[in-house]
Amino acid sequence: MSEITFLDAIRQAILDEMRADPTVYLIGEDIGTYGGAFRLTAGLLEEFGRDRVIDTPISEAGFVGAAIGSAMMGMRPVVEFQFIDFIANAFNMIVNFAGTNHYRWGQKVPIVMRGPSGGRVSGSAFHSLNPEAYFNRAPGLKIVYPGTVEDAYGLMRSAIRDENPVLFFEHKYLYRRIKGTISADAAPIPLGKARIARPGTQLSVITYAAMLHVALEAAEKLAEEGIEIEVLDLRTLKPLDEEAVLATARKTGRVIVLTEEPTTGSFAGEVAARIGEKAFWNLDAPVARVCCIDTPVPYSPPLEDFYLPNADKLIARIRELLEA
């Protein structure tokens, strides 16, 4: 089996679901003729035609709303935001309509909303967003954020099959930088289950998406010194796999939550708060957050490097906590 990229894996998952289920269709800007700004949907228009790969006007609230309406009627739309930053324009539709619909009147809304997210590509404030914390507070939504090729494939298939509105974030830094193989009989990976990406004993780093690789890089380096770091990849952020989170916290007694977002108001804060409340008696050190600085994403590389977490910053914090 040949290696494919993170981006290819997502396309493959969508392709497989579209072939398996005629109710699955795609809607978004420039996804058909052009194949998407990142060419993720390249070739799908040719195979499935304009009814199932719909190019839209520039109206995020419009096509998210349309996706919601069609989902109520039995379709399974997969919505693309050209850059996930534009999800801001559909905030009301996602949080108030899709998120509350089943609770309010019992009508399910099976819809996937996906798009390229994250920084480290000099995209500045409006092409680098990690939106998880903006949506984690909204009841009724699910949030998926894969960090490996295998998960990107398996979780996308589950997301499309899920009966609820799912936000599926794709870190664009990973699109073509990581590779993996998807076996022909690869199964969907259930939402809501975290994965131990690297077992360890002394400290747990809880993370996901691009930061997963920063965590693994740091763990690698520290292993050379005989320091054993456990890395937990959340994969699904909402609903959170609390069991796995508390298990690793209790196991190592030292936890860092590593995410690519401003520290204040971060998703990392939710994870840290749960550990602090539910695993308190097992902690040997404070639960630390290693996130970004509290600013918009700056553009120039030296500024963005300063803004972002990296292995060195993580290692420095790990050492502090191990000394605690």
């Binding site: 269709y25 109206s59 709303g65 309406g69 108030n96 309509f97 309010r104 009147w105 609820n164």
Partner: protein, 344 residues
Amino acid sequence: MTNFGPLHPGAAAGEGKLARTSLSIAQQIEVYRLLKLNRLVEDRLTNLYRQGKVVGGLYGSRGQEGISIGTAFALGPDDVVAPLIRNLGAMLVRGVSPREVFTQYMARGGSPTGGKDCNLHFGDLARGLVSPISMLGALVPVMAGVALAAKLQKKSYVAMTYIGDGGTSTGEFHEGMNLAAVLEVPLIVIAEHNGYAYSTPTSRQMKIKDLAQRASAYGIPARIVDGNDVLAVYEATRAMIEAARAGGGPQMLEVKTFRMKGHAEHDDAGYVPKELFEQWKAKDPIDRFERHLLAGGLATREELDSITAKVQAELDIEVDNALASPMPPPERALEGVYFEGGDA
């Protein structure tokens, strides 16, 4: 592209003879029953509100009943409609019972949402009903999506929803209308021009005279009718539904009417010139339809009175039933955030 006419003669005036209709006498009698039901259910709700039995606010459609009834009456069984808070009539046409309405407004456990949501915020796809959210404009893209599903599924149902004059200023209305036009989906949008958005007169919401002008920005065919002529509303809606069903893409119908009460029961509408209420009272859609039935010899006074009496009798029972029904069990609050069932 956009075609504002032919304007029904009554459109401006909202008085005089009603439009010719294709409805049978029996159907017209049913329309009358529904109009009465709409108004009398709201009268009952007003009483319940004054007695402090309604939980939260109460929103009515007095003077606009002909729109909700006339439009929904034109729908086919498989069509899907998303009423707004003033479209009780559309829900009644789709088979919603007074009991459902009373229990909703009184937050009872036996209400359609089990107490989870308020007033007319409930839906039921089995009856082709989609629930709104409070944010105005949101239903336009969503119903465009319902219409899109019909197109993708190669089915013949159409989607219909409503928007107030005020609601047409929202970004979601714009995005939904334009998207519906581009995707050529069978969506019918009923624009209720009733003079006010809460306390704000149309003149302070937009610089155009007719909501139909909004449609020209999308290349969507639009027509204007007298919203207080239930037959004109019915015929115009029917024509648009047929056009949409035949692949003519989205359609917009502007109905000229007037909100005969405040925005909600708590609002005395002190900001509305009294003359306007008087002018429009003379155009009451139910009185006009009644005159039409009697003058045309389609029904006798007695027949109409007995219809009203039947409705009242039903409402007596339903109000009591609703009042007697229990509040929901507290733990229900935990249920239903996600659809938990398997593939459904």
